[in-house]
Symmetry: C2
Subunit: 217 residues, 2 copies
DNA sequence: TGTTAAGAAAGTGTATGCAATTTAGATGCC
DNA sequence: GGCATCTAAATTGCATACACTTTCTTAACA
């Protein structure tokens, strides 16, 4: 079975696997504590164990998996305490991003932020949870990028990926959908007014609300 | 030459190398852009290339080294822009830690923080840069731990390690030593008063000052 | 002399094999 | 039956081997 991608050595094989595994963790396909067997993964991706180990090393450094010496890797299991500290950090980081965005976003960035936000109202009306979820991801990404700070972006992205498994299906709860939109609205309004303090506070409150809505898992 | 640690399989071989290499980067023994040759490193640590690659994968995920497909790994080279974004993030993170510390530190933590801080005044008087540097590291670590938030601790520690190479010898500049102590004093005082806002602002200002002092490299 | 093409050398990416360790199962004992 | 101990299978950790890429060297040509 060595009739594989031997034509173009991607140089990205490991990267691809990292993303694939991370995605499975983040989307919940692999749930916390699951064993990540090297042989099985090697079989799955049709590669030998060597690149798998490299991928696991990276995922370990990213905090998505726990590697226990001589005992294999498992999907990172986070304590309740650690989880709430992640949500707390996320609130602070998003607050910073919103504050910076209010001060630094370009005219174009502001325009698309506002435009997309208003467009998303339709999704709320329709109760299109899935689509709103997708929009929501984009909204937050725009917020992170608007801060114009590479490092903050890295930190917030890292935290978001670690948190992702724990806030799936948040929009199924109560009227989170419309609440979420109103919270977004407060953020957008503050950013358009270039009111950093208000934007930061609104973003923190928003994450806190998400945190509560996710406290169901 | 295979008469090695075959008696006790540490299970921490890679971890040890990660720390060792990270340390060399952080302390500046390996400077930005240096090539990290796998064969040389393998020779140096008396292991094969396999564990070296795993260590490099982790260091890459940590952001301390850049891995270019098929072209080897180099000590991460950070742009001026990225560097200032890291300092900026550090200021925000330390501000958060100080704010949280003011609210959450235990009586014991507060006592040791204040006690050590006052003790360090002697080092300033003596102009003991090296010793103050060591104390300084401890001071900030206490601040990060006092926040009682595992995730923030991880983020701030990560950022600190990435920043470390760029702020060596900051205490050689002007009277940073006494300035640093006074800035610490403002933080400590605010924390002792449980004044979160003031502590946060003082910590942010402190990091900003360090950032400026380090803008010499 | 400068440019480019071909080939060799160096270095990275992956597969495979073996040693060491953990884990599961079987056996004996109380 | 419950529990400790020993042995075998499964699994991880590392070394080595080889394939593929990049880079350096050399030589041919304009």
């Amino acid at each position: 079975m060595k009739v594989r991608k031997h034509l173009v050595r991607a140089g990205t094989t490991v990267d691809h696997m990292v993303r694939a595994i991370a995605d499975h963790i983040v989307t919940g396909a692999l749930h916390s504590g699951s064993k990540l067997d090297e042989a099985s993964l090697a079989e799955r991706f049709q590669v030998s164990r060597t690149p798998i180990r490299e991928a696991l090393a990276q995922l370990g450094a990213m905090g998505l998996v726990d590697r226990r010496p001589n005992r294999g890797a498992i999907v990172a299991v986070v304590s309740q305490e650690h989880l709430s500290s992640m949500f707390e950090s996320m609130a602070e980081l998003e607050g910073i991003c919103a504050r910076f965005s209010a001060a630094r976003m370009s005219v174009n960035e502001r325009m698309t932020l506002e435009h997309e936000h208003h467009a998303s109202a339709r999704l709320v009306h329709l109760g299109a949870e899935e689509d709103y979820e997708i929009y929501n991801t984009g909204f937050h990404t725009r917020l992170y990028q608007g801060a114009h700070s590479k490092h903050i972006f890295e930190l917030v992205t890292l935290t978001r990926s670690r948190l992702a498994p724990f806030r799936r299906a948040q929009f199924r709860i109560g009227d989170r959908l419309s609440k979420s939109w109103e919270e977004h609205d407060a953020i957008v309004t503050a950013i358009m007014r270039a009111d950093g303090a208000a934007a930061g506070e609104a973003a923190r409150a928003h994450v806190a609300a998400v945190s509560n809505a996710s406290a169901v898992f």
